[in-house]
């Protein structure tokens, strides 16, 4: 038997005995960022496809919450900074090597876009709110003329937002569990799935609910596939990646991940939505709520597990 004992004389808070720099703020932001990206992509894409009358909730109503969700997410992000008063330094430079930098700039674009997009719809829904503001009314009219272009730009930046929340983590070579390119697409699909679940949950149109239930089923299937792919990639990787996968295959994260995320967050709502497709009576709110909780838990566990995984030397 060969024993290997490493005694370190270092005890820096937040690094030792294990990295724990990011608490609840980052996963919450990643979840809300992904959800906003998902909502804006669905809204923009179906608007471009001309489905305004068929999916009114998705296109017109749901986007109205995005500025609020983004604000909460950004506030969480701000809380996480340890040198808060210097946050503006983010906007003094663009660094292409740093996903956090282009993420910050993407937010700078998507935040005003989400406000513009939702305000034009808000006026359609509640014109009486805008009666006293003539100048606003005329500028919104101008904006409405370019809605198609606005939708395209918004979808483009939303795609970057949805992907970047994953790439932010996958760029960290030093944490093997994060160091996989799958995280980008995984977080994007998970964000879209959460957005579809919100439509199922809050839309009043039966047809819209049904279609988005199906879309969600497709997205859940892709997400399960991506997660399996993630572990296949790790298991055929280097020793550190195998160790990272083992945390979920018998290690400390096993039960939490396979029961609450894979089970109650993906497979179970997937089965329920499939049964609904087969004309069984299923309360649609259940799978939708489970998908949303699963999406948040997925971020929490990935942020946590990444910090627990490391190079061995």
């Amino acid at each position: 038997m060969i024993e290997e004992i490493i005694t370190s004389g270092r005890m820096n808070h937040e690094i030792d005995p294990q990295l724990h720099i990011w608490g609840w703020e980052i996963p919450l932001y990643l979840f809300l960022g992904g959800l906003v990206a998902g909502i804006l992509i669905l809204s923009g894409v179906f608007y471009i496809l001309g489905r305004e009358e068929r999916y009114p909730f998705t296109i017109k109503i749901l986007p109205i919450v995005t500025p609020l969700l983004l604000s909460i997410g950004l506030f969480a992000l701000f809380l996480d900074l340890s040198h808060k008063l210097y946050f503006w330094r983010l906007y003094t430079i663009i660094r292409w090597n740093s996903p956090m930098s282009w993420g910050a700039w993407t937010l700078m674009a998507i935040f005003p876009l989400s406000i513009l997009w939702s305000v034009t719809w808000l006026e359609d829904l509640k014109p009486q709110w805008f009666n006293n503001y003539k100048w606003l009314h005329s500028s919104l009219d101008l904006l409405r003329k370019y809605r198609q272009k606005l939708a395209m730009i918004m979808v483009f930046f939303s795609l970057i937002l949805g992907m970047y929340t994953g790439i932010l983590l996958s760029a960290f070579n030093a944490r093997p569990f994060w160091n996989t390119a799958i995280l980008g697409p995984l977080f994007l699909v998970s964000g879209l799935s959460g957005a579809a679940a919100l439509v199922v949950l809050f839309s009043k149109e039966t047809r819209e609910k049904k279609i988005f239930g199906r879309i969600d089923l497709l997205l859940i299937t892709i997400e399960i596939f991506l997660l399996i792919h993630l572990f296949m990639g790790f298991l055929s990787g280097t020793q550190v990646h195998i160790e990272a996968a083992k945390m979920f295959l018998g290690g400390p994260y096993t039960t939490f991940f396979w029961v609450f995320i894979m089970g109650f967050g993906l497979v179970f709502p997937g089965i329920l939505e499939f049964m609904e497709l087969r004309k069984f009576k299923v309360p649609t709110a259940i799978p939708a709520i489970l998908v949303l909780i699963g999406g948040l838990l997925l971020r929490i566990i990935i942020v946590d597990a990444g910090q627990a995984s490391r190079w061995l030397y």
């Binding site: 005890m11 340890s82 040198h83 660094r95 956090m100 760029a171 070579n173 030093a174």
Partner: protein
């Protein structure tokens, strides 16, 4: 010019003098350290082998912390020394997550802190505090690009290794083994 350090793992006794010298020289807040000692024991009694290393930031030539920093607070200074500009650091901790050696920490004042190779001493032609104070003289500091420097000379004579070269960081701290 490329500053580097060679540390003789056969001579190091793990006395932690380098750690204390660094804390004193750089006013490192209590409870934190910029360099530290690792004792690695392998084998089964009575066939045991021990390697003692004084570790610190590797001042990598391909530093992931510099790459991941969104504000350029982490940057390459004179001779490739990896430094943090505390007035540009927002405390996002991306550099801490990106360092495979876990060489960085958050200073109680909020910004990220780390080994600077004692740049303020090096500029005056002195060795970093850890090197200067080592009682077994097991550390060598100098310009790796200069073949006549002490560190280049010792690396020619001795076998050496770097830590986790497979992480792709091109570290500039070498352990003589």
């Amino acid at each position: 010019m490329r500053y580097g350090m060679a540390i003789d793992a056969l001579k190091c006794v793990g006395c932690s003098d380098c750690v204390v010298a660094c804390q004193t020289e750089n006013n490192v807040p209590i409870g934190y350290c910029r360099d530290w000692i690792v004792e690695k024991t392998t084998g089964t009694y009575p066939q045991l082998q021990m390697e003692i290393r004084s570790e610190r930031c590797n001042h990598c030539s391909n530093a992931p912390c510099v790459r991941s920093c969104p504000t350029s607070a982490s940057h390459y200074g004179k001779g490739g020394i990896v430094l943090v500009d505390e007035n540009a650091c927002i405390g996002c901790k991306a550099c801490i997550a990106s360092c495979p050696y876990d060489a960085r920490f958050i200073h109680p004042e909020g910004y990220v802190d780390k080994c600077t190779f004692c740049l303020h001493r090096v500029e005056k032609g002195q060795d970093p505090a850890c090197v200067a104070v080592c009682p077994t003289k097991c550390m060598y500091f100098g310009d790796l690009d200069d073949p006549r420097s002490e560190v280049s000379q010792i690396m020619k004579k001795r076998k050496w290794k770097t830590l986790i070269p497979e992480a792709g960081t091109s570290p500039n701290i070498f352990y003589l083994i």
